[in-house]
């Protein structure tokens, strides 16, 4: 674990891999060290805001290293099941890249149990981990300028759903009508970090 100062009110805590980052985020939510505030998990890191009147990077580092990261993070919010129409423009390309038929791609994508590792890129865009290693595909060489809202996509070790129309470089598997972003709701997305997710084909 490395504790990197970020400005004068936050530290970026770096761990070995995505799984450790998820465990660290869960442990911090469960038992926040004194003086800490907002947490922002990402692929290998958790950003930890702190109140400089109450703590400092050295004290925070000691408290962070004392956290027990052996336990797998408990499921946070209720599991979410997302119904997908597997009609994505890149389904054939994903098959070519993985050596699977489109039906096998769909079978493997719906068989896996996913978890929201972190959000980013756009409000409510959740990076879901748990992708079958056989489905690992690179981002498209040229990103699309327009990906429709509800597009279900794959890239590298992640899968996710575009909550609204935006540019994007992930490979498109299909579409869903599951509501994923409502700024008037609290939280505005059901896919908060730690949430368990499954996909079913319709």
């Amino acid at each position: 674990m490395r504790v990197l100062p970020y400005g004068t009110r936050a530290v970026l805590v770096e761990v070995e891999d995505l799984d450790r980052a998820a465990r660290l985020h869960a442990a911090l939510l469960d038992d926040p060290p004194p003086g800490t505030g907002e947490l922002v998990p990402a692929a290998r890191t958790v950003l930890v805001h702190y109140d400089p009147a109450r703590t400092d990077p050295a004290r925070l580092g000691a408290a962070l290293r004392a956290l027990d990261l052996r336990a797998a993070p408990a499921a946070g919010a209720a599991p979410v099941t997302i119904e997908v129409r597997y009609d994505g423009e890149d389904l054939a390309e994903i098959g070519r890249l993985t050596g699977l038929t489109p039906a096998q791609v769909v079978a493997r994508h719906t068989a896996a149990a996913y978890r929201v590792a972190f959000c980013g890129f756009a409000p409510g865009f959740a990076y879901l981990t748990g992708v079958d290693p056989a489905l690992r595909v690179p981002r498209r060489a040229a990103p699309r300028t327009r990906v429709p809202a509800g597009a279900v996509a794959l890239a590298d070790e992640f899968t996710g759903v575009y909550p609204r129309e935006s540019p994007g470089g992930w490979q498109l598997l299909g579409t869903t009508r599951h509501p994923l972003w409502d700024p008037s709701a609290d939280p505005p997305t059901p896919l908060t970090p730690g949430t368990a997710v499954r996909f079913t084909a319709v």
């Binding site: 990197l4 100062p5 970020y6 400005g7 004068t8 009110r9 936050a10 970026l12 907002e38 947490l39 922002v40 998990p41 990402a42 692929a43 290998r44 890191t45 958790v46 950003l47 972190f118 959000c119 980013g120 890129f121 756009a122 409000p123 409510g124 865009f125 990076y127 609204r164 700024p183 008037s184 939280p187 505005p188 997305t189 908060t192 970090p193």
Partner: protein
């Protein structure tokens, strides 16, 4: 062009408690102190790029400091009052008039029904702030009335024809009717702290960052300030997995020209951050016009 958000009936018989937008300048937006606390869901903090100036404008009209006002880059606003309304301008001094009468910035100004406030461009500095007594009362989104230009949360950019509702929540009548104007420095020096990814850069890059002048380019906005100056070269190749970013982050893309993240920045980024600007100096960065230079000093 009437705004699609403005109903025809509202346009012909405006409700009294409104400000009508006649001219929206160069991308004016509604801003308050932002919606912090949602970065883990992908939402930028947003809010005024120069929060001190918005807070001052609010105090001058007797609002709570967190009331929503207008942020107008290069000024250029023309607003018409629905009824007696108290407004104040803060930020860089700029010419302003009500009808033909010149009025001061950094002081409350009373508008009579139908009177127009015309805000010119500042000579130094960039973002002019307007507060209205009672605050601009557009519906809050995730606890804030700010326009987030990156994610599209909050009200759209102002457009001629918009009717801005004015609220009724005030603090007290202001204790002062004039605030001293603080000139913006010709070449701001922004305090920085190293990291979190300074070890990705050569010693020469780290030295250049603290000695060279960087020019604010025209490709700068509320998301970030793109800087031109010596390229900051990497000591190590490779990709950085996405990680959280903060306002003030000096993120360095492969071309070596740093981008200084402002308030609408993306909450995660994949380029290494060589240093971070002190939060108290971010407003100076946000007030530096394209074409001007700034410098960094390590603390």
């Amino acid at each position: 062009m009437p705004s699609p958000r403005t109903s025809p009936s509202a346009r012909t018989s405006p409700s009294p408690r409104t400000l009508r937008v006649i001219g929206a300048g160069f991308g004016a937006t509604v801003q308050d102190l932002g919606r912090p606390g949602h970065a883990a869901l992908g939402v930028s903090p947003s809010g005024a790029a120069d929060p001190r100036s918005l807070r001052l404008a609010n105090r001058l009209v007797g609002n709570h400091e967190d009331a929503a006002g207008i942020e107008a880059p290069y000024g250029g606003l023309v607003l018409e009052a629905g009824r007696h309304t108290t407004v104040a301008l803060a930020g860089p001094p700029c010419p302003a008039r009500v009808g033909r009468r010149a009025v001061d910035t950094h002081a409350p100004v009373l508008l009579a029904p139908g009177e127009r406030l015309t805000v010119g461009s500042p000579v130094h500095g960039l973002r002019v702030y307007l507060a209205v007594r009672g605050g601009i009362d557009v519906p809050p989104v995730l606890g804030s009335r700010s326009t987030d230009t990156l994610s599209g949360l909050g009200p759209a950019r102002l457009a001629p024809g918009d009717l801005l509702p004015v609220g009724t929540r005030t603090a007290h009548w202001p204790a002062a009717d004039l605030a001293p104007e603080r000139p913006f420095p010709a070449e701001p020096v922004l305090r920085i702290v190293p990291g979190p990814r300074d070890d990705w850069f050569t010693p020469e890059a780290r030295t250049a960052l603290c000695t060279a002048r960087y020019t604010v380019t025209s490709r700068s906005d509320r998301i970030g300030i793109r800087l031109d100056g010596p390229a900051l070269t990497r000591a190590r190749p490779g990709e950085l997995p996405s990680e959280a970013a903060l306002p003030g982050a000096l993120q360095v893309p492969p071309d070596g020209r740093p981008i200084l993240f402002l308030t609408d920045h993306p909450v995660t980024g994949g380029y290494p951050v060589i240093a971070t600007v002190h939060e108290d100096d971010l407003r100076l960065a946000a007030q530096t016009r394209p074409g001007r230079t700034l410098r960094f000093r390590m603390i």
